[in-house]
């Protein structure tokens, strides 16, 4: 797979594998206390760089990892959203982490929807999960909106072995059924699209 050809488009966002030009924005996100509160805490730049290299390496050797999410209107890197399954992970996850200044615009839901479609279509996953801290209300709201539900709890693998998370998720069949429902709703509501988009805006991360 030529990674340069992997690009997902949504109405407001572009999703593509991480590229070297993203590393500064990635490191800034990793240094933000509030964003990293549910992700093992802040990381010095040298650690963030290693994790960035890990993300790039996952794309090259495993064929997937979180996408870099670019806001089309500004060209800004706003975070990472997408499929991940590192060694020992409690399942096939689609996760989302956005820089704080881009919260509250429905971006996590918009990007995760595209990433879940891709995971089911291209990676042929049977299930998608989201590992969420039990006090991360913002991400739970995103998961709920995606149609996922709390399935179980799990201990994360090292180096995060101290973290116990709620595993949210849904099956491929559940997602596809919801996608069919969504597309028929979109057809019915195509004349009132602007109203619908406004309603979809909510607090999330």
């Amino acid at each position: 797979m030529d990674l340069r050809t992997v690009r997902l488009q949504t109405e407001r966002l572009l999703l593509r594998p991480p590229a070297m030009e993203d590393v500064d924005a990635w490191a800034r996100l990793a240094a933000d206390e509030e964003t990293m509160r549910h992700l093992g805490g802040v990381q010095p730049r040298t650690v963030a760089w290693r994790n960035f290299a890990f993300a790039v390496g996952s794309w090259h050797l495993q064929g997937f990892y979180g996408f870099s999410v670019i806001e089309k209107a500004s060209g800004n890197w706003i975070g990472r959203v997408g499929p991940l399954q590192p060694e020992g992970w409690p399942g096939t996850e689609v996760g989302w982490t956005l820089a704080r200044e881009f919260w509250g615009r429905g971006y996590a839901f918009e990007a995760a929807t595209a990433a879940i479609d891709w995971a089911f279509d291209h990676l042929r996953w049977n299930e998608v999960i989201h590992c969420i801290d039990d006090d991360n209300q913002v991400s739970m709201a995103v998961a709920t909106k995606l149609g996922s539900r709390k399935l179980r709890t799990a201990q994360m693998p090292a180096p995060y072995e101290k973290m116990v998370v709620d595993v949210w998720g849904q099956s491929r069949d559940e997602w596809l059924a919801r996608a069919r429902e969504r597309s028929s709703t979109t057809e019915r509501n195509s004349t009132t699209k602007d109203t619908k988009d406004t309603k979809e805006k909510q607090v999330q991360g």
């Binding site: 070297m20 590393v23 990381q43 010095p44 730049r45 040298t46 650690v47 963030a48 760089w49 290693r50 994790n51 960035f52 290299a53 890990f54 993300a55 790039v56 390496g57 996952s58 794309w59 090259h60 050797l61 495993q62 590192p86 060694e87 020992g88 992970w89 693998p157 090292a158 180096p159």
Partner: protein, 184 residues
Amino acid sequence: MNPAAIRIETPRLILRPTAPEDFESWAAFMADADASKFVGGPQLRPVAWRGFLSMAGAWAIQGYAMFSVIEKSSGRWVGRLGPWVPEGWPGKEVSWGLVRSAWGKGYATEGATAAIDWAFDTLGWSEVIHCIAPDNTPSQAVAQRLGSRPLRTTNLPPPFESMIVDVWGQTREEWHTHRARVAS
């Protein structure tokens, strides 16, 4: 330059970028308390996975990183060595770490010689360093054989900030002087 096309041969070794089939051997290497003693200590498999893919990612974003070392006679993965310059590193390193069964054969010197040639000739470095723990006498011997000398002592950047290492090294000009002797 496409990293996948890079391949260096020495008399007994093949050096090539990290490939997916190397992971089992990499994980076993990182789990071995003796072999990993001077590279941060033994790692659980999920942690080794992250380090392994960070190496692959460094190849992709920097165009160089440590090579996987393949023993020609057996085809097996015997370690990783070569250029390693993660963010915040104290210099441009050529590093080496081999599985225990490959120790004592001169492989580290043989592989590092080829990697240092590549760093100076292809990457255009002007100096090479090796970060070596003060009690790692086998690696100090390799560094000496390569013609490097202790330059200074430093802390490594996070996540290895608790490690204090001796920085050994030499310049490109010194390497050109040493090269003929090392190869013989």
